[in-house]
Symmetry: C2
Subunit: 367 residues, 2 copies
């Protein structure tokens, strides 16, 4: 498929939702993509199965605290410099890039890099949403190595990381991202075409675009954008359950940039003052408690959305007094397997709760 | 020259003194060197001028907090892995290695790596002492690039860093050293033979060895090891002024590992209780105040030594109650030039004092 200006807008809306509060606000990535569109025409996105098994496929995206990305602008060469260096290291050309995570600005960022390299983006990603840490990618869950990876930043510095241990790789990349000012571009988990086919989460660009289109069309026709989005999600087959977990206003927000992440807690109160929801986040929203009872956890998606426009509000954009709906959605099934939950379940984030699928605990998700 | 077991011991004693409290206690490096000596015979050290101008010469050493190096042991392959990777990047063999700093264990560490690679160590170094940060090397002062550099650690991870800015390089390397547990091996400032001849501080392995031999011989003959060391230093022509700045016991020590460094302050009191000396350190001892008056600062050398044995006590080995002499020595002249003081003078460490040569403020240095 070719992505034109409207498709980019739809993708941005949908990716922001799938980001579960993280992945960075897609605003800048959208501007960059639109500018690139003017220069080079529509972006090419192809299905994973269109590639040969021995192709070189490279996931990439930004690593760091989204709070920083709002203020520290890229130099525009980070992704291309990293991808070009990987080509030197691998001694061959890259055939396609994929978003390491479909969520937030990282769902769009690879379009820009791919256009510069004259290669397509694959319709898939490495997380099916956004997660804060590199080893939360499906590729690590499936035992693949993140390395060699290449981290670049706006100052022009470049670091190549090699480690057999994807947790160590995350620590190294995170430390570098902090040292360069809190945000950097990371090229990681170089894959064969076969590995991309076997392990990437397929169709997520299509899904994000469909979610965005549903919201756009509902707005245009004066329909309920939430209902339209839920219907679009259910049709995907990937995110089968979705609904509103809470409706209210933000009455407290505690947020800081710590160890390279934006971390904190938000408290919502219902308009009648009778009920509260607390959410903890580490770049992404991780766990939601309604009046003290857990109603959703990672890896399920938890996104705060403007209650009128259904614009997703990333964690760095949350503000006191915002009137918002907290929307939950079931994560793709492969993130709910026992092997995956070791890396992306609530205990992987330090919570004491076991994972329970959102549709089992949040009964009100069902109409 | 060939370094045998006695020469290694002398070098360790002298390097510990030139470390100005830093560079790491040479104890482990000495054990490693002795073991390597058993396997392969004496280490080869050659003069810088023995190399051709187009040789590839590579400084290396350990980066991190010496407090950590005491507890976190190397895997023994760090230096060789880093040097081999640099050879791949440069597409040629390394002709010789040099200590990035002659001070502390880093004065010995390259012997081990060079023996493994079957190449000599050059009789020179990049700091003429030890300094805590990479950009304090003479090679940065002279405008050369630290990159590509390669950082390796005991877990087997390897990172290649490229940056045009040597301060940014220091931040990246430091961040990685912290992320891998506080200590790592760094191959940096790859040089041509010509650059090594023009910019390295020549003869420092010979000097360290001579200082160590003087202490050893004085001990053997019941002579004063301090007087012997001072005489040996003066004969070198590189460190012309040296003497005891204070004699007393440690009555307070404040030390923590922060941002990848061992930082703190020591307070000494004279045995009659009439006088005190305060020293601030960041891995290395940086500034000494006697009863509130500055008597020595970086880049001059400030080493705490056991008052009986003249063993140097590195900052991570300082203990309450130790009876010690604080010894000062003039830094090599090239570190006292205005261009050098921008990078290694007291203001480069955040102090408000300007540099004054130790022999001008510490009049008691003269006999």
């Amino acid at each position: 498929m070719l992505l034109d200006r409207q498709a980019i807008g739809d993708l941005a809306l949908g990716a922001a939702f799938l980001g579960s509060g993280g992945g960075g606000d897609p605003y800048y990535a959208t501007l960059l993509a639109e500018a690139e569109l003017e220069r080079r025409g529509p972006f090419e996105v192809i299905g994973v199965d269109a590639l040969s098994d021995d192709a070189l496929v490279v996931p990439c995206g930004w690593i760091g605290a989204p709070t920083v990305s709002v203020e520290k602008l890229p130099n525009g060469r980070e992704a291309v410099d990293g991808l070009r260096r990987l080509e030197e290291i691998m001694g061959r050309s890259i055939d396609a890039v994929i978003p390491i995570e479909i969520g937030g600005s990282n769902g769009l960022a690879p379009l820009f890099a791919a256009a510069r390299l004259g290669i397509p983006v694959l319709d898939c990603d490495g997380m099916g949403r956004a997660f804060p840490e590199s080893q939360m990618a499906i590729f690590n869950i499936r035992g693949l190595s993140a390395c060699p990876s290449i981290l670049t930043d706006a100052s022009g510095s470049l670091s190549v990381i090699e480690s057999d241990d994807n947790f160590a790789h995350e620590r190294l990349a995170r430390a570098l991202s902090v040292a360069v000012g809190g945000i950097a571009h990371l090229v990681e988990y170089p894959l064969t075409g076969r590995q991309a086919k076997d392990h990437a989460i397929h169709g997520t660009i299509t899904v994000a675009r469909a979610v965005g289109a549903a919201i756009r069309e509902a707005r245009a026709h004066g329909a309920d954008p939430f209902a339209a989005m839920f219907e679009a999600l259910r049709r995907t087959g990937l995110y089968r359950e979705a609904g509103v977990l809470f409706d209210g206003k933000i009455i407290d927000i505690d947020r800081e940039t710590r160890n390279g992440f934006s971390v904190g807690r938000i408290i919502f109160e219902s308009f009648d003052g009778a009920s509260r929801m607390e959410m903890d986040f580490q770049n992404e929203n991780l766990i939601a408690r309604r009046d003290g009872v857990v109603v959703a956890t990672v890896p399920d998606i938890l996104t705060v959305m403007d209650r009128e426009t259904a614009d997703s509000i990333t964690t760095e954009r949350l503000k006191y007094g915002q009137r918002a709906k907290v929307v939950g959605a079931a994560a793709p099934a492969i993130l709910r397997e026992a092997q995956a939950l070791k890396f992306v379940g609530p205990r992987a984030f330090g919570f004491e709760e076991d994972y329970v699928p959102i549709e089992e605990i949040a009964a009100w998700l069902k109409p």
